[in-house]
């Protein structure tokens, strides 16, 4: 039998729920604004004028 060192099942469930909250939030679809932002930053770096859509 595993000797639990005071990690009660409540505490383990709490961690499990934390992971779940995090997973739910991080797997949400990322809004376009962020991809646009990255594109803008990239084209600025390349010394381009802000480019229209490819």
């Amino acid at each position: 039998m595993t000797s639990e060192k005071k990690t009660s099942s409540v505490m383990r469930q709490i961690d499990e729920n934390l992971r779940r909250v995090y997973q739910q939030d991080s797997s949400e679809e990322v809004p376009d604004r962020f991809k646009k932002l990255l594109d803008q930053l990239k084209s600025k770096d390349n010394g381009d004028e802000p480019q229209g859509p490819k």
Partner: protein
């Protein structure tokens, strides 16, 4: 040619994680996205300071938490009760499962002090090692551990659970429940 990836190209893979972390910090989805935007811009500008081969996500999270605390310090000066307002804007998602009710859990989580929420998010949720989390927050490992543990206990308390007990919550999950005949002595 060794293929060293430009970390700039990898940013996109961390957007989801950044949003989740931002959400836990700000507790408000509009504020979270503004924070993510701020983080990306700062990261981009400082990319030369990133050491290739180290953990990009940890680096980004560090930038993000610093940005959050500096915004918050400013906001505190302007708004009396940031917390109340932020907590009110929380997005709710119905999620049915047999364990702790997720909405209750989220609400309880949001009531934790910043530093406990952050510690739990880093070590409990995103799976960073205590050492990494300590680095990211600029505190000792022991501090992170105790914040995380206080946070867990506080969460249990807010959920009306005894942190030392081995209860059957909702009574459906027997998997992974180790029975330590830990009967509460009342």
């Amino acid at each position: 040619m060794s293929e060293v990836k430009d970390p700039r190209d990898e940013l996109v893979e961390h957007l989801g994680a950044l949003r989740a972390f931002a959400m836990s910090l700000t507790r408000n989805s509009a504020a979270a996205d503004d924070l993510v935007q701020d983080t990306i811009e700062k990261a981009w500008k400082n990319m030369d300071k990133f050491q290739p081969g180290t953990n990009l996500r940890a680096w980004l999270f560090t930038i993000q938490r610093n940005a959050f605390y500096s915004i918050r310090r400013k906001a505190k000066r302007e708004v009396a009760d940031v917390d109340g307002i932020m907590a009110a804007g929380l997005s709710e998602k119905p999620h049915h499962d047999g364990r702790l009710a997720m909405n209750d859990f989220r609400k309880a989580f949001e009531k934790l002090p910043d530093e406990q929420r952050e510690a739990l998010m880093l070590v409990g949720a995103s799976g960073f090692a205590y050492e990494e989390a300590a680095d990211m927050c600029g505190v000792a490992v022991g501090t992170i551990k105790s914040r995380a543990n206080r946070g867990r206990r506080k969460l249990a308390e807010l959920m009306g659970l005894d942190p030392d007990e081995d209860p059957v919550i909702r009574d459906t999950t027997n998997d992974s429940v180790i029975s330590t005949s830990h009967s509460r002595q009342s």
